[in-house]
């Protein structure tokens, strides 16, 4: 669908300045020392970041890291405890409706209106922005096409699969043509095929210059979609950079994964000493961080060690996370 890209081809530049602010918002989002506490629990603990227009920015971290709470504050639906936050130069607590009018939001849990038909969900949502039906009717059809749901237009939402509901939620978030899209765990719970379709759609939006803010605990998702990301754990930023830079800074080029069986994984460490740059022992496997996985594997064999399985792979954000926190991302 090439028209879709070229139509917005000029919008890869930063968004034009808005009249109401004294300074044009060079960054569409700025957060300084953003903090949120619920009673004794500090969900977000003083995080700071800035997102320029058109960037695809990710928050990567395990469940409970504070990603969703951060998203809710950006989305203008949750009040911060302290710190500063502006979206398009506006404070979401002072100018909630104005901030939310700029955004498209894809929440973690779908909250489509299941009693309405697929297309009506888009129309009704567009009305919340005061958009007229003369705009909404053709726009809804356009978005259904974009979300590959045209033949489901008259179905009840109940009848859609998980992946279709997710795509409808994304279509709904685009009804007001937002220049900033917030996506909270967009593909959690979807099968691999549904995830790839969704990634493709998000990638098209990115090409159109839409600023994407997404949270995920999938490192492959972060690598696919994010220009830059922050790794978040326990409400704090552990590292920041592009996926490639993070891998370069916190990991090695390759990783050798060895499995010796759950009995021996823990004790084999001493015998592997000196191979590669760093060794990480997990309950189910041993990871050797090295620039050359194949040579490392040869060295393992030369020492007379016989792993049950071995695998050489490129480093991923999972390894970055493991390095930073000593824990895996998932579980």
């Amino acid at each position: 669908m090439p028209e879709l890209h070229s139509a917005e081809g000029t919008s890869n530049k930063p968004v034009p300045a808005h009249e109401e602010g004294p300074e044009p918002p060079h960054y569409v989002i700025t957060a300084e020392n953003l903090t949120k506490t619920y009673g004794d629990v500090t969900a977000v603990d003083g995080i700071s970041f800035r997102v320029p227009a058109g960037e695809s920015f990710g928050l990567l971290g395990p469940n409970g890291a504070g990603k969703s709470t951060t998203m809710k504050m950006i989305g203008g639906v949750s009040q911060r405890t302290s710190g500063n936050l502006t979206i398009m130069g506006l404070d979401p607590e002072q100018n909630g409706p104005e901030v939310r009018a700029h955004l498209g939001v894809v929440p973690q849990q779908d909250n489509l209106d299941e009693e309405l038909k697929v297309r009506d969900n888009l129309l009704v949502y567009g009305r919340y922005f005061g958009l007229p039906m003369s705009y909404l009717r053709p726009k809804a059809d356009e978005l259904l096409e974009f979300a590959q749901l045209t033949d489901k237009a008259k179905s009840k939402v109940d009848a859609l699969s998980g992946g279709m509901k997710r795509r409808l939620t994304i279509a709904r978030s685009l009804i007001n043509e937002p220049r900033i899209l917030l996506l909270d765990e967009p593909t959690t719970g979807l099968d691999p095929q549904a995830r790839h379709i969704l990634w493709d759609r998000l990638f098209r939006l990115k090409e159109q210059g839409v600023t994407l803010i997404l949270t995920t605990h999938y490192m492959d998702e972060a690598e696919q979609l994010c220009d830059r990301l922050i790794v978040v754990d326990k409400g704090r930023i552990m590292a920041e950079g592009s996926p490639a830079a993070l891998i370069r800074d916190y990991s090695t080029r390759e990783v050798l994964e060895l499995r010796f069986g759950s009995e021996r994984n823990a004790s084999i460490g001493a015998e592997l000493e000196g191979i590669g740059e760093r060794l990480e022992t997990l309950p189910d496997r041993v990871l050797i961080y090295t620039h050359d996985g194949e040579s490392a594997l040869e060295e393992v064999s030369a020492r007379g060690l016989r792993p049950l399985t071995s695998l050489v792979r490129r480093s991923s954000l999972e390894d970055v996370f493991l390095r930073l926190t000593g824990r895996s991302l998932v579980d």
């Binding site: 909250n111 489509l112 059809d141 937002p178």
Partner: protein, 295 residues
């Protein structure tokens, strides 16, 4: 893949698609925000009405069937016994004229007991439908107000139908009878809004709404001077009527439909009571919505 249809040419899909030659463009966010600030509650009401349209037939049948059944059973069956024995006890009018305004008010209150409970739970918890509009320029107050506007329209529609049937039975002799439609709507809000505030505070469904039906709505329905004047009850249980929106609404309705004689002070008390309860309910509802959605 959809078949290429004549109505939607492939080019209409692009962002450059046009209506009557003009580019399809949303108005700027500033306009969205300004419109939402002004009309947001009505935008949400529109959504609720669309959902109601989905079960429009059952609303219609309920609105027609319930009064018809009650008026026939009570007004024709029971009334033949009552009217031959104790006409004076019922304000000097036929029994059917006596109970008609009560049934009208009770029907609105019963509708309130469903419309302001389960849908609220659905909004916050079951299907979380409030959180969609919450991410849009609408505010929590507007979402609450929108739902109330939509339900108020349902009260009005239902009461108009009910009143038309009452009038067909010849049970509204006074020219002011139509006012009972407004009274019933007010009674529905007066009972419904405090209930909505309560529903918005519930985090876990433990069958509270069934309890409300059984232990609040039913006793109010039976002991609010619905089927017999309140002063025929022992003093010990009369207080149920005094605190009941059904009683206040019913008495007010009777003044409207057949010029029921009561002290003007009492008429004013009925009105003030209903308005005050509705207002308190609204304040509490608003607070619950803001609190629960702001977390």
């Amino acid at each position: 893949m959809t078949e290429p249809s004549a109505t939607v040419p492939a080019t209409a899909v692009s962002a450059e698609s046009t209506t009557a030659g003009r580019a399809l463009r949303a108005h700027p966010p500033e306009v969205s925000a300004a419109k939402a600030r002004r009309w947001g509650a009505f935008y949400y009401a529109e959504q609720v009405l669309r959902v109601m349209k989905g079960y429009g037939w059952s609303i219609f049948l309920y609105s027609v069937g319930q009064p018809a059944a009650y008026l026939f059973a009570m007004g024709v069956g029971l009334a033949t016994l009552v009217d031959t024995n104790a006409v004076s006890a019922f304000g000097g009018v036929s029994y059917i004229a006596f109970i008609a305004p009560a049934l009208l008010v009770s029907a609105a209150v019963m509708t309130a007991a469903t419309e302001f409970t389960f849908p609220v739970m659905d909004g916050f918890k079951w299907r979380r439908v409030y959180y969609g509009p919450h991410a849009s320029p609408l505010t929590p107050e507007q979402i609450a107000a929108g739902q109330i506007i939509a339900v108020t329209l349902r009260f009005l529609l239902q009461s108009v139908i009910y009143f038309a049937i009452v009038a067909l039975f010849g049970a509204s002799p006074s020219g002011w009878g139509w006012g009972s439609v407004l009274v019933a709507t007010l009674a529905g809000l007066s009972f419904g809004l405090p209930l909505m505030a309560y529903a918005a505070s519930i985090k876990e469904d433990k069958g509270q709404f069934a309890m409300v039906m059984r232990f609040i709505v039913m006793p109010l329905f039976l002991f609010s001077g619905t089927f017999f004047p309140l002063d025929t009850l022992p003093v010990l249980v009369r207080w149920i009527g005094w605190i009941s929106p059904i009683w206040h609404g019913t008495e007010l309705g009777r003044v409207m439909t057949f010029g029921y004689e009561e002290s003007p002070v009492l008429t004013i008390i009925h009105m003030v009571f209903l308005l005050a309860l509705a207002w308190i309910g609204w304040v509490l509802t608003k607070r619950q919505f803001v609190r629960r959605m702001g977390q």
